[in-house]
């Protein structure tokens, strides 16, 4: 298997294949990225942080993704994080715990896999998706899941570590992997993620 492209979204900006392509404003950094990247998708504003980050990360990788796609259902989405939907869970809880009313639009985001749903809707991707929770980014874990995905007949996988940890940085590391010869090899995933984090 082969890493075809990577992208990264954080308060530092938007990065594609290890090059910074857009700087983010300090305040409202996600909105500033969305506007600077000139994407037209009003649903963006309703998304929670996880979905916004993953959305932007995949938008800037659109060309690379289109180039490997063989059909609308042969690309698996393999996503993971450490905090699930905790950030939105707390916002939803807050919507009613202190005198308000439970918010339906917040409640629908209290599941981490809504992220994959948002991307599937935007791009009409009908393939397989799974959202996993691991304590930290685990390269071996992703490699295992990638092997399985290819063994089942998928041709490519769009993988993401997209997290909103309370004691860490909000980030989305997106990587597109194509089948090649289905041998794990060294995908250098953790190195790439660390490079992005250290930009």
């Amino acid at each position: 298997m082969k890493v075809v492209a990577t992208s990264y979204i954080s308060v530092k900006g938007a990065f594609l294949n290890e090059k910074k392509i857009q700087h983010a404003d300090d305040t409202n950094w996600l909105k500033s990225l969305y506007q600077a990247l000139e994407i037209d998708y009003p649903k963006f504003y309703k998304m929670d942080t996880l979905s916004k980050m993953a959305f932007l990360a995949s938008e800037i990788m659109k060309n690379e993704i289109a180039a490997v796609q063989t059909s609308d259902q042969d690309m698996q989405l393999l996503f993971a994080n450490s905090a699930a939907s905790q950030q939105t869970d707390l916002k939803y809880l807050d919507s009613y715990a202190n005198g308000g009313t439970p918010s339906p639009s917040l409640f629908v985001y209290t599941l981490p896999n809504i992220v994959t749903g948002e991307l599937a809707i935007r791009n009409k991707w009908y393939g397989e998706n799974t959202f996993f929770i691991t304590e930290k980014f685990d390269e071996d874990f992703f490699k295992e899941q990638l092997q399985f995905a290819f063994s089942r007949g998928n041709k490519s996988c769009l993988c993401a570590w997209v997290d909103t940890p309370t004691d860490g940085i909000e980030e989305c590391f997106l990587f597109l992997v194509s089948e090649g010869e289905n041998k794990p090899g060294n995908l250098e995933l953790l190195n790439r993620l660390n490079n992005y984090r250290n930009e």
Binding site: K31, P42, K43, Y45, K46, G100, T101, S103, P104, S105
Partner: protein, 83 residues
């Protein structure tokens, strides 16, 4: 009535996270669930919350909402009638 309508526009923008818009962008007769604003069924439920939280009006059946939430005009008319 026009004060209520301006207030409603601001509340709609806030409740539904329509960050790109300002009240001036929503006309009194804009079809809220038409193509312009891209609102969906979850947003319709947020309207119900808005009516209850801000105006004390309860809607028991979400399907009643379609007519009431057609535009700022119909929303304002409903509020005036039911407060």
């Amino acid at each position: 009535m026009s004060e209520l309508k301006e207030q409603l526009k601001a509340q709609i923008i806030e409740q539904l996270n329509l960050e790109d818009l300002s009240p001036a962008d929503i006309k009194d007769d804009t079809l809220l669930f038409g193509d312009e604003l891209g609102l969906d069924s979850i947003d319709a439920l947020e309207f119900i919350v808005l009516l209850e939280s801000n105006y004390g009006i309860k809607i028991a059946d979400p399907s009643e909402g379609r007519e009431i939430f057609q535009s700022v005009n119909s929303l304002a008319a409903y509020i005036e009638k039911n407060q």
